[in-house]
Amino acid sequence: MQKKYKILIIDDSEEILNTYKKFFIKKNYSVATASNGLDGLKILQTEPNDFDLIITDIVMPNISGVGIISIVKKKFPEILIIAITGWGEHPGMLASEAEADLVLEKPIDLMELDKRIIDLIQSKTI
């Protein structure tokens, strides 16, 4: 059986958080969620070594997804990040610049997202 991966999902839409959470729990992930960048960052700081991967929205209150990517890449370089953009090219480009491991555009196919996560984690451990 595959190891249980731990992910953090940050998005300011309650609905998206719930949908993602349900889906990933069913897929046997351990899931934490935050509805803005600051709360996400606080979760990371209390359990810094726990997370394998972060999925983050980009346009959010207080710390944006781009901010999260920059901070995480500096402070917790081991954690992988997928940025999800729905706002045209500017934020997406900024996310790549900040060195997100993957930038995906909405709408997101969750089955596909699951595959990309496994790919990312496995390519990192090789």
């Binding site: 600051l38 209150p61 944006s64 901010g67 500017h90 934020p91």
Partner: protein
């Protein structure tokens, strides 16, 4: 340890902002601080700087609304000798002066669109060129911007570049107006009473009664904390809260009241006995001082004159400064110092 001017307040919004500052002050990521006039945007910027590793390096402020386009450009980037007629000496720009530290761009929403493009280029490349220079220079400045405009609105009106907006808003700090966090009012009064008491010859500010506090929390506070400071100073001069809170315009914010107010603009007629007898009440002989009365009277006349011209010009501050024959900078200073408030829309 000095860590910036104090951020007073117990409201969830202020607690949250303080928490956010503590989490991002060491990141050096671009920040936009937004909120109405007088809510404390500059205080927040100072706190970010003082809590960052850049503390002790320069903190350079540029007010993007205070200078016309050409001057703002040379202020920011500097110029080489001979870059244009009149450029007899090379001038270093604020980007250069802020190197290693913080560049605080105040009123970023007022930056002309061409300069926005130039700023975007600097942020993308990390390099800037002084006017008339062939060479680009590397810059390591932490950019903190402030605005009391709704930038998203400005984008819709094509007054603000969307790509610049996203590049600046890596971190957003929004400070709500004082009327939405009235639980902060008693704490601010406490803090500033003590401060002013020591500044104004130890004259004590009367603690507001619960009736007064109630009134204070019903008021609209269009000038936010700065206006509260001015109110406190007036209480200090007058020795009483009552006249001041009775003079509040509680209809502020309802557009009707504002419209009425602007329709009734009358030229100011100073009448000298007003300054002595506030609302018909004789002055307190204990605290009587000619100096205070003079300052008070002068402030009042200036305030009336400036308000009158501002309303006549529809708050076109550069036109108003020309009519008043004072510099634009002086006008901005007086507006804030005298607590002159723009009509809300």
């Amino acid at each position: 340890m000095q860590s910036g001017p104090p951020i007073i307040g117990v409201s969830p919004a202020i607690v949250r902002v303080t928490d956010l500052i503590n989490h991002v002050a060491d990141t050096g990521l671009n920040i936009v601080i937004s909120g109405e006039t007088g809510v404390g945007k500059e205080v927040i910027a100072q706190n970010l700087y003082q809590k960052s590793p850049r503390k002790g390096k320069p903190f350079v402020k540029v007010n993007c609304a205070a200078l016309p386009e050409g001057l703002l450009e040379s202020e920011l980037y500097g110029y080489e000798r001979g870059a244009f007629t009149g450029a007899e000496q090379k001038k270093r720009g604020k980007f250069e002066l802020a190197n290693g530290g913080v560049l605080f761009l105040d009123e970023i929403g007022d930056m002309p669109i061409l300069l926005q493009s130039k700023l975007l280029h600097v942020l993308q490349s990390g390099e800037f060129a002084p006017l008339g220079s062939e060479k680009e220079f590397k810059t390591d400045t932490w950019l903190i911007a402030a605005t009391n405009h709704d930038l998203e609105d400005e984008i819709k009106k094509h007054k603000f570049r969307e790509d610049l907006y996203y590049r600046l808003n890596i971190i957003k700090i929004y400070i709500p107006p004082l009327r939405e966090r009235t639980e902060d009012i008693p704490h601010l009064i406490n803090y500033y009473s003590q401060l002013y008491t020591s500044q104004f010859n130890n004259r004590n500010i009367l603690q507001p009664s619960s009736r007064v506090l109630q009134k204070l929390s019903e008021y609209y506070w269009p000038g936010n904390v700065r206006e509260l400071q001015n109110v406190l100073k007036r209480v200090l001069v007058l020795g009483s809260w009552d006249d001041i809170i009775d003079g509040f315009d509680y209809g502020y914010g309802s557009s009707n009241a504002v419209r009425q107010k602007t329709e009734q603009v009358q030229p100011p007629i100073p009448s000298s006995n007003n300054f002595l007898f506030q609302n018909g009440q004789a002055p307190d002989l204990e605290s009587f001082s000619l100096k205070d009365i003079k300052k008070n009277a002068l402030d009042k006349v200036e305030k009336e004159a400036i308000s009158y011209i501002l309303e006549k010009t529809g708050w076109n501050r550069s036109r108003a400064s020309k009519i008043l024959k004072i510099s634009y900078k002086t006008l901005l200073y007086k507006i804030s110092e005298l607590g002159i408030l723009p009509p809300t829309t």
